[in-house]
Amino acid sequence: MIQFWRVVTTGARNFTRNMWLSMAATAVMTVTLTIVLVSFISNSALTSTIKGVTNKIDVSVYLNDNITSDQLTGFENQLKADPNVVKVTYVSKAQALATYQSENANNQKLLQAISETDNPLPASLEIKTKDPKNLTSVIAIIGQPANAALQSDPPSYSGTNKVTIDRIVHAADFFKNGGTYASILFIIISVLIIFNTIRMAIFTRRDEIEIMKLVGATKWFIRGPFLVEAAMYGIIAAVIALILAYTLVLGGAPKLASYIDVTSTIQIFKDYPILVIGGELIIGIAIGCFSSLLAMSRYLKL
């Protein structure tokens, strides 16, 4: 135990002795861990955004405010009779307003534009189909003059947005892959830089290593400080990267919210801080120790 602490303090001492090298190595590691974290954040945010987009109902029919319940059930039953229709959901004016308010919770202007007393949002029927690309039969039902008379606005089809949605999905995949590749690339760069830093440390401390050997230090007593030093790059870098990411995500969330769905990411940050912080620290320490071990296996012959 006392040996362990001696190794840790020696490692820390060596870290401060080579301040410039240590800082450079830590900086590279910080960039890497930030990229890893950002790529994780954007992956999870994009994934939930995509889920939101693709889960959208296929057809929305907007109803007049003065529609009777008989007219409504008639229309609903007609739609349900169509074999392509999986589900028809009635959304009342009040529900539409509630959804609108929660979706724009961060935008005061949009909220003020609408109030409960004067609710301009129509009630609607949301139709989920088996095959959203082949809506001819559904369109035919909606287009019947009797049914058309019940509608306040033209229906909206996701089918027409299909191409756009596909493009968004592709772009998101591209970004997700890009994040992963960037993470891998920067992890490799970190490994190389730390490998080199430790290699130089081994060379500059070769007299010291020789003395340690001569007074009877064990292999791990000599190697330990180099591991501690490299792990410190990882730990310090992880802390900086986490502070950056938390301020960015939690602080920038309101601005990002209108573009992508960050709620689930924020939820991960808030609900599993130990997991996020621990994960980042473990990645940092692992990169540091791995590079250090690699350098020692090549340059520290004991």
Binding site: R17, E208, L214, V215, G216, T218
Partner: protein, 258 residues
């Protein structure tokens, strides 16, 4: 001295009956601090630095090893500290047979032997007390024990007032005292010094030799190599002269003759 030599003795040697050609084998082990039996060391580049050497040094002896440059003095010492591994023969130091130790035991071997070098080998970024403490830290001694032992040792080598100085602030002789203090702090039975006075002026050199004699009086076996003729002749102690890896002279009160 008359030693008994029976095959039941645990000498760890191969052929105890062969007493005429190898008198070394007839020495009781507990009376031997360092034992070399037909030891040969050939470096990977095929140069043989020690060839078929027989040597025994008893506890509490003060032995000086002399020989011209390249004779094999440093190699002999490196075999004892296990910096080098012998090619053949048997080495027993302090009762430990070097054929039975693996790479893992090397740190333990070094902790039992104090070593001092011509170039001191002090850690430049640690002060005097920390340099001495270092040998204890390495072997896992508690801080309390280190705090107790280090000042005593600095007192012994006459550096009590320099405990907080850095090595660069010391004279050569003082630096060598620090190295000796570090070598002795674990109370080894053997102190090995490879040209400890090589970098020192005559006055400092003598002070170091006197310190080694004092340590020897306290009961530590001292093994010294040197090129200093005056010192060897004045010591009147056992002198072993080696040449091309062989002992050519071994005298109880030897003189420097090369």
């Amino acid at each position: 001295m008359q030693h008994s030599c029976t095959p039941t003795q645990k000498t760890g040697l191969k052929n105890p009956a062969n007493r005429t050609t190898h008198p070394v084998q007839c020495v009781k082990l507990e009376r031997v601090m360092i034992l070399f039996d037909r030891v040969t060391k050939t470096y990977p580049n095929q140069s043989t630095a020690i060839s078929g050497m027989n040597l025994h040094i008893q506890p509490k002896e003060f032995v000086t090893i002399v020989g011209s440059s390249g004779a094999g003095k440093s190699t002999l010492i490196k075999l004892m500290t296990r910096e080098e591994v012998h090619t053949s023969g048997k080495i027993i130091v302090g009762g430990l047979d070097y054929d039975t130790i693996g790479p893992k035991d090397v740190p333990q071997v070094r902790r039992r032997i104090g070593v001092v070098f011509q170039d001191f080998k002090l850690l430049p970024n640690r002060n005097v007390a920390e340099n001495v403490a270092f040998a204890m830290e390495v072997s896992g001694t508690r801080n309390k024990e280190i705090k107790r032992a280090v000042p005593k040792m600095l007192q012994l080598v006459g550096l009590a007032n320099k405990a907080n100085n850095m090595p660069q602030e010391l004279s050569g002789g003082e630096r060598q005292r620090v190295a000796i203090a570090r070598a002795l702090i674990r109370q080894p039975k053997i102190l090995i010094a490879d040209e400890p006075t090589g970098n020192l002026d005559p006055k400092n050199a003598w002070e170091i030799i006197e310190l080694l004699l004092k340590i020897n009086r306290f009961g530590t076996t001292v093994l010294l190599t040197t090129h200093n003729k005056e010192i060897v002749n004045a010591l009147k102690r056992r002198v072993i002269t080696i040449n091309r890896g062989r002992i050519i002279k071994d005298e109880e009160q030897g003189r420097y003759a090369l």
